[in-house]
Amino acid sequence: MKQKHWYDYLWVASSVYLALGFFNILFAWLGMICFITPLLISIIGGSKMYCNKYCGRGQLFELLGGGLGFSMKNKPPGFLRSTWFRYGFLTFFMTMFFLMIYNTYLVFAGIELREAVTLLWVFKLPWNWTNTSFVTPWAAQFAFGFYGVMLTSTVLGLATMIIFKPRTWCVYCPMGTMTQGICIIKHRREKADGRKGETNSGAFKDISQ
């Protein structure tokens, strides 16, 4: 059996994060870690280390679907695994994300705070039991919006976990698609730079090795 590391327990952090949102929506801001960290790792390090090791959500799906047997373990349909769907879903997800940012701006500009969490981009869940008076309305609006994004992706991930293989969400996860795209571009550029170096100095080193 493989040795367990501290990062193998990040599913606990993911679960706690989702629970904290029910107590105070402002904890949703913590979810930014799950957005910024994979981007930084892929941009600076050129890897998907976050998905491979530190993704608490992926671990949660693996635990629920694999360990606890809540998954039917069916092969996901071909369209879900296709490039056009993955990048299409990323585009849709990012569009909705920027709309959420725009709503935050509107509250910043003066419109009233809407205390609701949007689930699956359509369903508005009333979420008015938490006290957000100690922060500026735009910060609270962002929390509501961001928690909606996190809850939506969790619900989608759980649904595909049950029907298909445990970590089916990883196939079309927008962050996974985005970081893989960044890695492809980064390594392609590095390779091109290496080839340029070959013609200039004659000291070509294949960085793809």
């Binding site: 491979n52 693996e62 695994r81």
Partner: protein, 75 residues
């Protein structure tokens, strides 16, 4: 060291999620540059655990080339 008859092969668009890396009991799989999984053919014993775990269903077990050649020779 005698190699197994089967080994894992990646056919299709790998999403580099790392599920196969975690399940491989022999650490025969690694994610290369955040783009795709690569299999160490010398270490792989063709157990099929990665095939079961892969959510993108791009890993398949197949006979090694030399085994295929032997089989052809027998026919």
């Amino acid at each position: 060291m005698k190699l197994s008859k089967k080994k894992a092969n990646i056919i299709g668009q790998c999403v580099a999620c790392g599920c196969c890396v975690k399940t491989c009991p022999l650490d025969a799989i690694a994610i290369s540059k955040g783009i795709r999984a690569v299999i160490d053919e010398q270490k792989c014993v063709g157990c099929g655990k990665c095939e079961d775990a892969c959510p993108a269903s791009v890993i398949f077990m197949a006979l090694r080339e030399d085994v295929k050649d032997e089989a052809k020779a027998l026919v």
